[in-house]
Symmetry: C2
DNA sequence: TCCTTTATCGAACGACCGTACGGTATCATC
DNA sequence: GATGATACCGTACGGTCGTTCGATAAAGGA
């Protein structure tokens, strides 16, 4: 009794991973349960399972979906800004706004996944590590562009600034989740501006 | 067949929570299993269970033990330094050293617990929130002392500096766990020094 | 219209979890 | 040396998890 037309597997997977991203931001990727997820998308446990073949594959697909959403909602709006400091400043605002409007009910997904798997060897950890490295690389490249354009001091260490910005955004996310006090975003924004020498 | 003399319940609990702290830094507080923990301290599942009465109590006791260890190993060595900027600088070094020497096999315990429970209402979340708030308060007080002593600019926001230092230490911890590259500690130390205007 | 493909379902499995409870050997006290 | 408290153990129960597998009904091409 297929409820959907043939070859709809991609859409169905997307519906599941979308729900999984939200759920995992709260309970963690390990806290995901195939049965619980199935209930949320009104399917049966065995159906959801057969879409991915294993829980590990479901987790990897969920991470992939979270990355895509992050790119769409954070990077997308600022992609057209002028590369260098202008885009970096816009990116920081977009980044914090993404957390502030609570797109993820449990806070920053990548931070959650990082802290959850950073000490557990396996493909999940490797995928998280690659993602984090790639993101830090993006930030670093933007800082380097800003330096070349004379928008930042020549003695600025791009990797340091990337590390700091990422640390601040993550702390803003879990700080807000813990305290439910929006002031942490003000603090984070001020701190980011200071890091970027404003 | 009691293996220990009477009234040894406190010592036994301490042995269990000590193992639990290490394990939870890797697998998370929710990932703790009473049976697994029992194997590690060479006791039976039912024995460990009856020491705490419930898993939730075990988790709370584990958090308490982690806080105590943190206080002993991070704050203890610098408690006698001169309050204000000197002690703050020493504290940052002690803090990073604590993570660098991998006392916790899975990285910063409080960060793990924070990210794990920040969006899950309950006594665990409340305890974590109180702990984090207290720690930020300690940092903030130290910054305020430094300002009063003229060691930091008068327009410094103590809460901002506390937020930044905590963000950097946490990021150093999970950054190291992910990359296994000790350079993150150099980066974090440099960033902390910069935050403190050195 | 028939036949193959395919998306979904239902039922069952073994493993592991937290929890409950009664038993048992040792200790402290008299 | 008998007695009661104490620290630990053995066993079992109900529940939930990931996973397997055969059935089923709609979709699509011939």
């Amino acid at each position: 009794m297929p409820r959907r037309p043939a070859a709809a597997v991609a859409e169905t997977r997307a519906a599941v991973t979308h729900a999984a991203v939200e759920r995992a931001s709260v309970e963690g990727l390990e806290g995901l349960t195939i049965g619980g997820l199935a209930g949320e998308v009104e399917m049966r446990k065995s159906s959801v399972f057969s879409l991915f073949g294993s829980k590990k594959e479901l987790q990897l697909a969920t991470l992939e979906a979270a990355i895509e959403q992050f790119r769409d909602e954070v990077w997308g709006p600022v992609a057209d800004e002028q590369p260098g400091l202008p885009r970096l400043l816009a990116l920081c605002d977009s980044w914090l706004a993404y957390h502030e409007r609570e797109v993820m009910p449990g806070g920053c997904f990548l931070t959650t996944a990082t802290v959850e798997f950073d000490a557990r060897p396996g493909p999940l950890r490797d995928a998280v590590a690659r993602t984090m490295a790639r993101w830090l690389g993006v930030l670093e490249g933007e800082v380097a562009t800003a330096i070349d354009a004379g928008e930042l001091p020549v003695d600025t260490e791009p990797a340091d600034v990337a590390f700091q910005l990422n640390a601040l955004a993550a702390a803003a996310s879990y700080g807000f989740q813990l305290s439910r006090d929006g002031d942490v975003f003000v603090r984070a924004r001020r701190s980011m501006r200071r890091t970027l020498g404003a």
